[in-house]
């Protein structure tokens, strides 16, 4: 247990550092409480139920979302750390399947953005598979620029919208 806490803390630190480098979204999740990631409590009567999105998000401490630079789809160190957290969860709960939803910012043409979102979703899927998650447990979908979460037309909003969201298939 103790070693996991250390690893989780280190990964979180790396994620924040790396994220700062590329001007992170204003609403990045807060710094994690170290023991949340390490000790999921699925049977707690008031907590989220295993198999739900809420359980997953709590367990990975909001790291079910990764972000991309403009027109890029590579997994940077922050994304890698988040995907490692996701992979740990998926290895721990082998009956849970997920969908990776790729998204883009609004500053692209519609059809290209659909293809770009698909490429981003596949980049995350491939990374999860490289960490040992079975490929048939992960589906991908692209929403292109159709589903923004930040509504402004500025760099900060665009950075928040260039994202992959990992969702538990319930």
């Amino acid at each position: 247990m103790d070693r996991r806490i250390v690893i989780a803390t280190l990964m979180a630190g790396t994620a924040l550092l790396a994220a700062c480098k590329k001007e992170p979204p204003a609403s990045l999740p807060p710094e994690p409480e170290p023991n949340v990631t390490a000790t999921p409590t699925p049977t707690a009567p008031t907590g989220p139920v295993l198999g739900t999105q809420a359980h997953f998000e709590e367990a990975v401490n909001g790291k079910n979302v990764i972000y991309f630079d403009t027109d890029r789809y590579n997994i940077d160190s922050a994304s890698a750390a988040a995907l490692q957290t996701q992979a740990q969860y998926l290895m721990r709960y082998p009956n849970i399947n997920v969908r990776v939803e790729g998204n883009t910012d609004e500053r692209g043409t519609r059809e290209y953005n659909l293809a770009l979102g698909e490429r981003r979703a596949n980049a995350a899927k491939n990374y999860l598979v490289s960490l040992g998650v079975a490929a048939n447990r992960i589906t991908t979908i692209s929403y292109g620029k159709e589903r923004p979460v930040a509504l402004g037309s500025n760099e900060s909003a665009w950075a928040q919208n260039r994202r992959d969201v990992t969702v538990v298939v319930e």
């Binding site: 043409t109 059809e111 290209y112 293809a115 770009l116 698909e118 490429r119 491939n126 979460v149 509504l151």
Partner: protein, 473 residues
């Protein structure tokens, strides 16, 4: 905005409710409205005399740009009730002239004067104009017409173009239309006048498919919709339960290709306008985007992502196996046939960012044509064959044209995000959609090849992804 939308919806529901109640839709049909009426063919009437007219084709744009055209109300022999107008054929005559006036005015090339500010000619005057009436108003051209109700309920519409100074008839046309298609007769008249005076091919008698948008930026409802080239006869095809994107009219107007998330994933469908049903373009678990018709309607181009890598494929419109046309790593997407069907211009980021490429229709001889700075996206080959319109991304997004070798780039618009050009049937006007910064609201715009005449096309709600069809059959 809202009352207009309600009106359209209510009309739609009333007109087609019995049909919808009878059938249980397939899962893929569950986002579809009731079928739109197909509309009858327009019959051309032989005109009584043809004295050859004048050989009058003006090629210098500056000469006819300010041409004054008087368009008084069309006359009728007998004012009788018609399904086309609550006011009978006399009121319909005025409406016909108004449609012609709007067509020619918004085109930006003429200075027309409409029926509301002109005297109404009598029925006999249509073939024998009262010249002093028009020369005193300094009109250079005169469009007169008539409308008659035929015994079978159909309408006969005649249209005459006169040169007022020369006191000569330049051309004429006549059409028989069902009452519901009365506007088509007016567009035929506009096309006749436009073609005779400009020397260009017609384009008003055509339709546009597009995506109607409502709701906030993060919960946008996107519905497939169709309308005439002037925005009239608007209909929603889908209900908005699923996001619909990027429609394309088939060359015969019988089908629409578009993307829908109706089964949860981005998939391409062929929607049949007559039956109101749809089917998948191709059976695949992979996402498919960017559907396009070949000019003869026999082939469909689509783009499919496998493992994140998107390539362009071709399939027969009748179904069957697909042929992969591109295989470069990266995103190859879209595609627009040259009018003769031998070449395809498409978009690829194989060089590192979005650029335009041309290949033969079988996928051979792929070569980049855009080298003029910025990025090249959504290329569309002009129906005339001479130009390619595209979205030029250089800071802002703007509509530009280039020749088929990639040279002679001209940027035609100056919005913050102008995207997805689509050509008028005659290749003289480009329609596109404009997105507003921050609000994300979108609207349809038209610009001519000079870039000087730009105007917004009114739509009941916000609008994007326009696709202009050919001249109606």
């Amino acid at each position: 905005m809202k009352p207009i939308l309600l009106l359209f919806t209510a009309t739609l529901a009333l007109a087609t409710a019995p049909l919808a109640a009878q059938e249980t839709p397939k899962p893929s049909d569950r986002d579809l409205s009731s079928p739109a009426p197909e509309g009858g063919a327009v019959e051309t009437v032989e005109t009584a005399r043809d004295d050859g007219g004048l050989s009058f084709t003006v090629t210098d744009e500056s000469e006819w740009q300010d041409l004054g055209i008087a368009i008084p109300g069309f006359a009728t022999d007998r004012d009788v009730p018609t399904q086309a107008s609550s006011g009978g054929t006399a009121a319909l005559g005025k409406s016909l002239a108004q449609v012609v006036y709007n067509d020619l005015k918004f085109n930006g090339l003429f200075k027309p004067v409409g029926p509301n500010s002109l005297p109404q000619p009598s029925y006999p005057e249509i073939t024998a104009p009262s010249w002093p009436t028009w020369s005193n108003r300094s009109a250079e051209m005169l469009v007169e017409g008539y409308v008659r109700a035929r015994g079978d309920g159909k309408l006969i519409v005649g249209c005459y173009l006169y040169d007022v100074q020369l006191q000569k008839e330049l051309t004429r046309g006549g059409w028989v239309v069902p009452p519901a298609d009365w506007r088509r007769a007016a567009h035929k008249c506009s096309d006749l006048v436009y073609s005779r005076l400009s020397g260009e091919s017609p384009f008003f008698d055509s339709r546009i498919a597009y995506i109607a948008e409502t709701g906030p930026k993060d919960h946008r409802v996107k519905r497939l919709a169709i309308m005439d080239s002037d925005g009239a006869n608007h209909r929603f095809i889908t209900n908005g339960r699923a996001t619909a994107l990027t429609p394309r009219y088939s060359p015969d107007y019988r089908q629409l290709l578009y993307l829908s998330y109706v089964d949860g994933n981005p998939r391409l469908y062929v929607y049949d306008i007559g039956t109101g049903r749809q089917h998948l373009v191709t059976q695949s678990s992979n996402p498919t985007f960017a559907p396009r018709w070949s000019p003869d309607g026999k082939w469909i181009l689509y783009s499919m992502a496998i493992g994140g890598n998107t390539d362009i494929y071709r399939v027969s419109a009748q179904g069957g196996p697909s042929v992969r046309l591109t295989n470069a790593p990266g995103i190859d997407i879209g595609g627009s046939y040259s009018p003769d069907g031998t070449k395809i211009v498409f978009e690829s980021d194989r060089s590192g960012n979005q650029q335009c490429y041309v290949m033969n229709a079988d996928g051979s001889n792929q070569r980049r044509i855009s080298f003029s700075g910025g990025r090249c996206a959504t290329p569309e080959w002009s129906p005339r064959g001479d130009l390619i319109a595209f979205t030029r991304i250089a800071g802002n997004f703007n509509v530009a044209v280039m020749n088929t070798q990639g040279g002679g780039v001209r940027t035609l618009t100056s919005g913050w995000q102008d995207e997805a050009p689509t050509w008028s049937p005659n290749g003289r006007v480009i329609q596109f959609f404009r997105t507003e910064r921050n609000s994300g609201r979108s609207s349809l715009w038209q610009v001519d090849l000079t870039g000087r005449n730009e105007r917004r096309l009114p739509t009941p709600v916000d609008a994007s992804d326009p696709a202009w069809g050919p001249i109606l059959p």
